[in-house]
Amino acid sequence: MSGLNLSAWSALQIRDAVATREFSAREVAESAIARIEAIDGDVHAFNQVTPELARTAAEKIDALVAAGDPLPPLAGVPAAFKDNMNLVGTRTTCSSRILANYESAYDCTAVARLIDAGVLPLGKCNMDEFAFGSSGESSATGGAKNPWDLGRVPGGSSAGSAASVAAGMATVSLGSDTGGSIRQPGALTGTVALKPTYGRVSRYGCVAFASSLDQIGPFSRTVEDSAAVLTAICGKDPMDATSIEREPEEFVSAARETDVSGMRIAIVRDMLAMEGVTPEVRDSVLAAAARFEAMGATVGEVDLPTSQYGLSAYYIIGPAEASSNLARFDGIRYGHRVADPVDTMDLYLRTRGEGFGTEAKRRIMLGTYALSAGYYDAYYGQAQKARTLIAREFSAAFESYDVLLTPTSPQVAWKFGAKSDPLAMYLADIYTIPVNLAGNCGISVPCGFAEDDGAKLPIGLQIIGDYFAEAKVFRAAAALERDLALDMRSPLVLGAPTP
């Protein structure tokens, strides 16, 4: 229709172009829809595409432009949502057979707030089933693919949310992060990916995985866009008692404040020395730290010795809370129900046996065991105590430093099927999990590339901040983004034919 190709544009560029009538929101919508039609058959980032919702939202924006009315902050920006977030008019499947036909009965607060900020809803993104995974492969609809190399995973669990942005379909997207499910796919797809502080963003309407760890956050192509999305979705929500009441905050100015002179930054030395991290990733993180020093920041080192136990604590707490949260999928009120049950027990057992995939069953079993009589204190109780120690170590580090640096992922994107052992998959999140346990914030920002078997693959730097210190995290991330000036257009974007 328009020949418009916005696959490498930032959200704020699109918004400004719509505001100055360079093109209309409707043209943006048609361009994004055409691009999804052209390439999502290959990428499989979407479980459901919603062209009518995008067009309706675009018409509203164009009416505001025509009337000369003020535009919302993300007017006309194509956006996608992880398929565990409810949006009336869409299914919310969690990429699970048990919810394959589930129609959203109400709106997720973060989604509603982003739509109120003017975005064009493109659809719902593929994910690991119920967010259980680090590669996207546990999706019941088949895994999303990495736009940097379609033979590789995009990371997970917010696999499609990451892939849709890296492939130039959505400009921004929302994911959820329980142990790294935003930051890790962000690293593997070369996108900017933020896990806000626990309580910063309402969890209402996002299907719960582990309620004490889950947090919604954005994927984007720029740090500034990440800040703009957080500004739109954050804040107290009466529907989520764990969302925190704070003075209204605006983060875009922090993302434009790229002067880091005087900022105190620390490399987490013992985490960088963990086994499993590849030399390319380690070198890239050290090089980023050197760039910060060159820009005038003070760069030191800290150790977080308890964080190496984070994986153990997480694989008790996460599955325990998940097994409890997923008890609601019993075939009674919604979701899949087995045919011809003889009684309710038979209905529960076979509905859940049929409805859940392998990884979901593994987590439910692990969590049920950890919470069962005689084991609660030995597992859940101990894990919660370890969590206290991990949080204390972070707090002590933040007395001396503004932000901490680690890799986001120990390695770059791997090939489909390369991690068939569950424990090997779990180890993909060793750098991101401690942040969820402590509850503070972290961002993954591209910091370089590694060559692997002929493919050029992005590396992500994790910048960790204290509770509610997202502004500092954005400032550091934006400074590095500007300093490195990496070309983060994936091959799918570079080779993009104009739709």
């Binding site: 109400y106 919604y334 009684d343 057992l349 439910i364 779990y426």
Partner: protein
């Protein structure tokens, strides 16, 4: 700590999961491998450390005591596998046998 096949079947019943024999066997192996890693947490001295339940402690979160509408019954039932007369329909849970 290591789970026997019998314990795996017991936990599956607690979790209300019907598993095939193949699933029981593979879950037994997976769970024991994962629990073996998890047991490293015992290396930590956690004596006198308080448990952490939430990242940002908030207490007594209340709202004003005003009536707010929830989902109407039509919306609440729209995803029901079976519904009748404004209610969820389930297999019988009392009686049984041939008493009708």
């Amino acid at each position: 700590m290591s789970l026997s096949e019998l314990e795996v079947r017991h936990v599956a019943m607690l979790a209300r999961l019907a598993l095939t024999d193949e699933e029981v066997a593979s879950l037994q192996g997976d769970l024991n491998s994962i629990l073996g890693h998890i047991d490293t947490i015992r290396q930590l001295d956690l004596e006198n450390v308080p448990p952490m339940t939430h990242a940002v402690p908030v207490v007594n979160v209340t709202r004003d005591d005003v009536v707010v509408l929830g989902l109407d019954s039509e919306t609440a039932l729209m995803n029901a596998p079976a519904a009748q007369d404004g209610a969820f329909l389930i297999p019988r849970i009392t009686g049984g046998g041939d008493d009708e």
